[in-house]
Symmetry: C2
Subunit: 270 residues, 2 copies
């Protein structure tokens, strides 16, 4: 769901970007399971005084990505409402039993991430501070690329033990893997692929990068680049040391420190 | 989509009823195409101060109907938002080429409706007037029954030329059939199955009855009752007389009068 003033602001985000981000969010979940998208369904709540132009631009942003990803818009609904709400459902397929889950990370596995982290949150921070933004310079935020080819490649090569997309932030999404796999995750801070515009905190906790975070056995031959996207090893899975799966950081001197998951979490930030 | 203060009010509708109505709305669309439901997906926007009890009751109303109709909840999303929004997507199946559409009504066809009309709107009117309501006495409004068995029977018997469910009101939904079939629809007012609690205006324009409205050739043997639900002949399809498909009423003396569609239409009533 993309909710006005929760996931976007009309004065910050062009309508085309909101339409694109709405579908990208759903496609990214399919990518994280190693799936291929099949169809999408859109429900739109719109204030009755919203200009038709806004709706046209929103739809053009969404439909451009839908065409590109061969994910036809196949149904949905419209309603009036005080705020814009766009709900996207994406259906995808994966051969039975091959879905990549969050629950199969094992101690000794290495942790990997696609692309760069923190770029989307860096743009959001700049928007919050009132600075002018050009959407063409901030495409990671306005027009994120769901990593469908990477997810599909990893599933077909059968290299991966767990996978998730980074929608809420690395610290939060790695914690999801740790909790569901009942393991600890240790991040090497100096290894993180921090986006040029971001800093370490944004790379750790900033959401909406829609990169893939996955674990693979130490012995797995994970390439440095898949489908044109860089792959970086950023840490390892360890045996669980406390009640709940936890995320730790390790510095170059080998010192471990607990990392409190602090990304975007619904119902906790507002 | 079910939007707080548009489709329901928290002080009027028990949470179980809202959950039931949300899914019933989607199932009714499947019924109107002669389909069988397969799976549903739910996205929920919830204010962060909403009691957990409300969510539990909402889900229990929705899941009870999902179990009854063998339509497993198969995915979805949650988000925080200023108002409750529940978006349901129901997937259904129908053999290729057999979907019942709105566009195949032909002059000479008879018009039929299931059950009774206006009951749901009568309850809503009473709620608006501030009268106390017991949901057990007003189940057509609070717990509508999607007419899945009737839709399936009609599709399998191949009797029907067009079908729609009455979610917005008879006058509006018949106009949809007329426009898409490029015909006129003539309603015999004295034939309408008006609910005991309703009047003629509510039967013509009141929404959310979720009965099926369909056309069938004059020669078709449409029974008086299908799957325990009464079927009433309420008019006929005629050749189009104006630019747009229109709905007319005919009284017992044979006088035709145009009927302005005046039911629930999103973006027009608020």
């Amino acid at each position: 769901m993309c909710v006005e003033d929760v996931h976007f602001r009309r004065e910050w985000h062009p309508a085309e970007s909101i339409g694109h981000r709405c579908l990208a969010r759903g496609l990214s979940d399919i990518a994280a399971m190693g799936g291929e998208p099949l169809a999408c369904f859109l429900s739109l709540d719109l204030p009755s005084n919203l200009p038709q132009r806004w709706v046209n631009d929103f739809m053009s942003g969404l439909l451009r990505l839908a065409r590109l990803r061969k994910t036809p818009l196949s149904g949905g609904d419209t309603s009036s409402a005080p705020k814009i709400v766009a709900d996207i459902i994406v259906l995808g397929t994966v051969p039975a039993g091959q879905t990549l889950l969050r629950s199969k990370a094992r101690p000794g596995d290495r942790i990997y991430v696609t692309g760069e982290l923190g770029g989307s949150a860096a743009t959001l921070k700049r928007l919050h501070s009132g600075k002018k933004i050009r959407s063409s310079d901030n495409s990671r935020h306005f027009y994120p690329t769901p990593r469908l080819e990477v997810g599909l490649w990893l599933r077909k090569k059968n290299l991966v033990t767990s996978m998730i997309d980074i929608s809420d932030g690395l610290s939060v999404d790695l914690a999801h893997i740790c909790e569901e796999s009942k393991v600890d995750g240790v991040l090497r801070l100096e290894a993180l692929p921090v986006a040029k515009t971001a800093d370490l905190a944004l790379a750790l906790h900033g959401g909406e990068d829609y990169e893939l975070l996955f674990s693979a056995p130490k012995s797995a031959a994970v390439p440095r680049r898949i489908a044109g996207v860089s792959i970086t090893e950023i840490g390892e899975i360890r045996r669980k040391t406390s009640q709940k799966g936890t995320v730790k950081t390790i510095d170059s001197a080998g010192r471990l420190k607990p990392l409190r998951p602090a990304g975007w979490e619904h119902f906790k930030t507002d």
